[in-house]
Symmetry: C2
Subunit: 240 residues, 2 copies
DNA sequence: CGGAACCTTGAGATTAGTCAAATGACGTGG
DNA sequence: CCACGTCATTTGACTAATCTCAAGGTTCCG
């Protein structure tokens, strides 16, 4: 795993307002926690943090098989969790946006964690989180909630992989758009290759499928990486 | 969700030995917990239980969308978690054997839980588990560990779905064999249709693929539901 | 022994993958 | 600001894997 270096962080650790400028601003959107507990969780994370550390695109943050010393809070950029097989094929299990946590597991990491774009990552020591959780049930419940959430997302992804290319892509675009904040434009932060590996397709099929959606007037393509979702309801209705 | 009925259970709740005859015997194999904590968790589960309740094959235990009042400990038989789509296709996310817990989620069940064979199921009240977990960190850590485990299994399953039919089937057979206790014979407890829906294949492809493995001398078929894995290392080596 | 459900096999259709080539986008240095 | 090189994306023709539809065979249970 990459070495940890001390990097400057906002100084006013306790000050609520600092979160909005600082590394943890994105955690403000976490749905599972509210009010006092939210502050507690944020303070706990701040106390445990190492970093944030900058990673360049395609840099490996942890390898499959590495001991699970740390979990990772994305501050900026996009992170992917994936596995690469002997024959060179790669599957991306999930993409993680700022404010999201990636790499929770026990003992050893079952997946690699990599920067899909240049990214700032906060490292959180797993053992410290666990020992705090053993004393404070609010932290324990935060961990359980986050893990349950990740489980549900992984289940939905496993279900998605069984469907047609068109359905997979439509669902992916809608989901990404809503996670990024549903503006008019959908700027794909990752390459088509990453999308293909996430959806279990080839880049060619991804490209052809976008072209097909474009011909059906469901999306418009401003540039390869910039789309407009013209008809969300119809995209949602694509099945199998 | 199915109504809860009181059903006779072993009387000596506190007596350690009773677990080996009674409903919770299977939990003895849980890897995550040891010694005193194991006893604690078992006592806790016994205190929360409703049932066990008998379900017949294909009976629905909970529906997708039902509120998450209970989670389910399989005592006997095989349980599946799945989703059925409008067009009638069904995906089975996982099979659960005696001693395993299925149906953990928050708020609403994201998947249906159904009996894949006749089964005995213990119902555990989620809210009670959570409130005990808030007071006893060993229960909290049991819940977190079980959820983390389920997450990893789901990740492996999502990865498996991306591979060739031969690889999916070989991996499934090996995994099932080891979970069932790796005797000489592998008795498939579920139908080919269930296996197909689990692996994202059709029954025809499942059948043809087993035939192919048989021709390669990797498995032998005593009856459609009874196989012998003739060459585990070679089965393991099948990729893509 | 009979019937129903389940499994197997075959032939043809469909979807997505592979290989190859052309086009387009973007950053760098002149 | 433009030319260039590199990398990413698109498109086409062909191939391979899996599905679909249909028929026949087995197994199991009453």
């Amino acid at each position: 795993m990459a070495p940890l270096e001390s990097i400057s962080v906002p100084s006013a650790r306790e000050h609520r307002a600092s979160f909005h400028d600082g590394a943890l601003a994105a955690t403000a959107n976490w749905p599972a926690i509210q009010g006092d507990d939210e502050k507690l969780v944020q303070r706990t994370l701040v106390a445990l943090r190492r970093g944030p550390i900058r990673h360049h695109r395609d840099q490996v943050i942890v390898c499959e098989g590495d001991p699970a010393h740390y979990i990772f809070l994305v501050i900026e950029g996009i992170v992917r969790s994936c596995r690469t097989f002997q024959n060179g094929t790669r599957n991306i299990l999930g993409f993680y946006l700022p404010g999201e946590v990636v790499g929770w597991t026990d003992l050893k990491h079952a997946l690699s964690v990599e920067a899909a774009t240049d990214a700032m990552i906060l490292y959180l020591k797993r053992s410290a989180l666990l020992s705090i959780a053993a004393r404070d049930s609010r932290i324990a419940s935060f961990l359980l909630g986050a893990t349950t959430n990740e489980l549900r997302r992984t289940q939905e992804h496993a279900l998605l992989i069984g469907r047609s290319a068109k359905c997979r892509l439509a669902t992916f675009l809608l989901d990404l758009s809503s996670r990024l904040g549903k503006t008019k434009y959908l700027d794909l932060p990752m390459s088509h290759q990453d999308i293909a590996d996430h959806l279990g397709l080839t880049i060619e099929t991804v490209s052809r499928t976008i072209t097909e959606l474009e011909r059906s007037q469901l999306v418009a393509r401003l540039s390869p990486r910039t789309l407009i979702l013209l008809n969300r309801p119809s995209l949602l209705r694509i099945k199998n």
